[in-house]
């Protein structure tokens, strides 16, 4: 198992966000996590690269218990994990090229020429050439999102964590991002966890889909199993029907 969350609990003050969440992701697999807003999807993703520590439970990544790592061993593991943030989280004082190069500068032995080359390749992969010297504030929301994606894939990570990678994108860009996620998985064998609200995207890119509800994994299955699920909470989300959710509660 390459990513494993075991009975993870996390609370912020009185608010219990994760209440025993368990998830296993095989090497090379793409798992989408769906669920309503405020259910803790981003919180669980931040546990996977150690940005948050669980109150209880275990988080394993690449054979390391990341929730117990500190300092250099933690950074070592993080270098294998690319993270695509919901709102890109680009460094606004840096150009796009500098943003994409940031992670590469932490890889020992990479020359400036290697870094420039990898920056160019990453930007080309997300169809974002010619913006190297622009600042994030000069780009549209969709372009910023793609730049965030480029920054993550430039590291050529073994694992990619996507926090709503397609939210707010136009249909063409959305399909391009889906293709990229598939390509990262198929050609490079990257293991991915994708947080999404977009069911069409989830069906297209996922090997498995997990529904996070009330802090736990409510249902997990292949896209077809989720599409055909009889669980009213899953159906409410998938079909966008609030009435089913009311019935279920």
């Amino acid at each position: 198992m390459s990513i494993e969350l075991k009975d993870v609990h996390k609370a912020f003050g009185e608010k219990r966000v994760l209440r025993g969440f368990t998830l296993s992701v095989e090497r090379g697999e793409t798992v989408s996590v769906i669920g309503g807003s405020g259910q803790g999807k981003s919180t669980l993703l931040k546990h996977v690269n150690g940005l948050l520590k669980p109150d209880a439970g275990e988080v394993w990544v690449d054979g390391q218990r990341i929730d117990q790592l500190e300092g250099e061993p933690l950074y070592e593991t993080r270098r294998k994990v690319g993270y695509v943030f919901q709102f890109a989280a680009l460094f606004d004082s840096m150009t796009i090229a500098e943003n994409v190069a940031m992670g590469l500068r932490r890889i020992p032995g990479l020359s400036e020429a290697d870094i420039a080359d990898r920056v160019r390749t990453a930007l080309a992969r997300v169809d974002l050439e010619g913006v190297d010297e622009q600042y994030p504030s000069e780009l549209s929301g969709g372009m910023r999102k793609r730049a965030g994606l480029a920054r993550a894939i430039a590291l050529e990570p073994a694992y990619l964590l996507y926090d709503e990678p397609t939210t707010g994108l136009d249909p063409v860009t959305l399909s391009m991002v889906d293709e990229l996620i598939l390509r990262m998985s198929d050609r490079l064998g990257v293991t991915s966890v994708v947080i999404t609200h977009d069911m069409e995207s989830a069906y297209r890119i996922s090997d498995r889909i997990v529904m996070l509800h009330e802090g736990r994994a409510r249902v997990a299955g292949t896209p077809d199993e989720i599409r055909d699920s009889a669980d009213p909470v899953v159906r409410a989300f998938v079909e966008g029907r609030a009435d089913l959710l009311e019935e279920a509660s």
């Binding site: 150690g50 940005l51 919901q86």
Partner: protein, 259 residues
Amino acid sequence: MNLILAPVRGLGRATLAVVSAVGRGAMLSVDAGRSLRRVDQWGPHLVPQMISIGVASIPLALFIAAFTGIVLAIQASYTFVGTVPLYFVGALVGKTMILELGPALTGLALSGRVGASNASEIATMRVTEQIDALESLAYDPIAYLVVPRVIAGTLMFPVVIALAIAMGIVAGWLTSIALLDLATPQFVRGLRLFFDTYDVQFAMFKSATFGTTVTSVGAFFGYTCTGGARGVGRATTRTVVVSSMIILVLDAFWAATLL
């Protein structure tokens, strides 16, 4: 009953908030101490921060010091005339600028310029997940953001304040010869009368502690910021208020213990 309990609850909450802030501040300080060894991450940012915190603050510091020097000279002359020899104007301007007004006024002004700027920048990075992004790219955000600012503040505040003190004295001297019927030799005589190099060492040490305070407090409120744009505003305001208060307390403390 509520009327009685409400203030008690409020006091309890405020006490908890202060204790919690002190605890988080102590933890951040320990982390910053640990991050000192990551020179590769903070080293490249030290000089830019010294320029941003120090060099860029010089015009404001000189402006404040110049008018302080003018006012000091005029007020000293107004107070002394007819009772104390006027060359004491030089003594008062020099002593007051070095011991108190140079460091304290500049420190307070820089708590606004430097503290607010640090707090808002780091807080914005926090609420827009840029700090999370730094961590996810295997950077130590404390080494990257906090350490170079605190070192730069500690090193540059004494430099800026030394220039401010010099400017205050020069402004006091120019005012004395232009407006107060005082000749340069008289002003210098007064200036040298109570001059002690220990005063300069005291001022520089005090200024360094103000630099550490302003940058650490800004980094703390920025780093622990929550809650979007409102949180950024709150972090900035708190930085200015808290660092100003600490500067005044430290000012009194160093005076009581070192003079």
